[in-house]
Symmetry: C2
């Protein structure tokens, strides 16, 4: 019975140690070192190997090492095999940190000050209080809710929008199509934490930007394909948006010649908002293996219909 | 009986409205519009007028509109006149926001990513967890304590250093000379929130930087004169410090030709970390006037010996 890991090797080495100590009955392998593919029961990957079903005939469970499964082609994973995405405290904490950092940077005009520094300009702007700033978070899963709770504690006026209904103290909760319109209309700082699915691809578009208050700031921590890149450039050009903070791009690494690198109102980071932390994620995977053996509900089980 | 305000005019206009509603018995004047200087009992200023004692013979109380009084020459204000610095919730909230923003920016490598963006480089760094990061705050007054409590909630390992002893749950508290040494040795991210006095001027020096862990980040939110600018440049050059975030400079506005503008490891903002907010500060001033009339202790009363 073996567990195959195919992702970042340093984290893999740490998982191997933790598995050896905590689940010595499982042979832990780091891709591509697999002796006997027919022994592989569990697979954890960012990009899974090809021909999963044929290569690993006894596969029982597939883990994504990231919070999403949009990088998987679910149709290649036989229906009877549960797919689990990563919901682990280290990743959640990282996302909360990044969202707080990006929202505070938008709130306190850091994109303007970074551009002014490059021009040698000392031009203080008035400081607005947090309760005059309306933050909207798209996506109210584990990540979105954790982010909203942290931002609420700074005094921002917070709202969340999501496909399913939620109820969170001190947060305005919106749902569905009509809800989206009302939600956008009141969001000065918009944070995208949606899963990438067929219904959210390209959602950050001219049509959506038009519904935001003029001069809103976009923070995309979802996936690059949530955003139509030319629509963002157009919205910045027309001052519909005043700035954008992007942690994700359609093509990563972003090509050298891409205009986003040099845009004075775009702040770019290289997909680092949330990273699966070796120790805490190993705990969650080991716990899910136990749940699987015992027939208990898996934490982060993907609903294939919804796509997340 | 009149109140003279000499500072940012928009805030002055708002104070005038609030005074008219809440303390109509006081004539509120905005500098330089003073009919009869002998009527002035109360003065609120950033830079006070010259010859205070001679010009305003019946002055009873002086307010700084900022958190510090280092911009005042206290020797020009007669001993019997209490001097009060601004301790008000709007200013405190702004300082907490900025400190959180700057510490998270240091923690999540944003200074590196801003420089990489300018170079068109996509180079993700591993994400460290907050509990692996040791933050140290110099100054444990109202501002320092509020900042420490917020940072503690992110899971950072937090310490404070201050002249007087403090006790704050979950925060390592250091005091005095020996305490400073121990405090610096364990501070990966150092935040200066000290008042500027003769004993803190130039404290951010080569001698202090040498005691920090190699590669520490400096955040100066105190005053420009806490920092010896050439010592910072030297520490960055020698990689003793990896980066600095500066909200204050010795000369403000920073002269156009100053090297800080173009340094890839310095992030500059134009003295905006904390700003006295019109509504909440007017409340505090009105409350202090009431306290003064009733002989109750003033909130923010400056100890002239200490200088803050």
């Amino acid at each position: 019975m073996s567990f195959l890991y195919k992702s970042e090797p340093l984290r893999g080495a740490r998982w191997a140690e933790l598995f050896a100590a905590r689940a010595p009955e499982i042979d832990f392998h780091i891709w591509p070192a697999v002796d006997d593919p027919s022994q592989v029961r569990y697979l954890a990957a960012w990009q899974p190997p090809e021909n999963i079903a044929e290569t690993f005939p006894n596969l029982e469970l597939v883990f994504s090492v990231g919070a999403g499964v949009d990088q998987f082609d679910l149709s290649c994973i036989p229906e009877h095999i549960p797919v689990v995405r990563m919901i682990e405290p280290g990743l959640i904490a990282g996302v909360v940190e990044y969202a707080t950092l990006a929202v505070l940077a938008a709130h306190r005009d850091w994109i303007t000050y970074i551009a002014q520094q490059q021009q040698g300009q000392w031009r203080p702007k008035p400081v607005c209080t947090a309760d005059s700033r309306r933050v909207g978070v798209m996506g109210m899963g584990v990540l979105g809710r954790a982010v909203l709770e942290k931002l609420r504690d700074f005094g921002f006026r917070c709202a969340g929008w999501s496909r399913s209904e939620h109820n969170l103290p001190g947060i305005e909760c919106y749902t569905g199509e009509q809800g989206l319109e009302d939600f956008l209309e009141r969001s000065d700082i918009l944070v995208c934490l949606l899963p990438l699915t067929d219904s959210t691809r390209g959602i950050l578009s001219t049509e959506l930007f038009r519904q935001l208050p003029k001069g809103a700031v976009l923070i995309n921590m979802g996936r690059g394909d949530h955003l139509i890149e030319e629509d963002l450039l157009d919205a910045l050009y027309r001052d519909r948006l005043s700035a954008a903070i992007l942690d994700v791009c359609s093509v990563e690494p972003l090509p050298k010649e891409h205009i986003f690198w040099r845009h004075p109102r775009i702040l770019l980071t290289p997909h680092i908002a949330g990273m699966t932390q070796a120790d805490s994620s190993a705990e969650i995977v080991l716990d899910n293996l136990r749940r699987h053996r015992e027939g208990a509900p898996l934490v982060g089980l993907v609903n294939r219909e919804r796509g997340y």
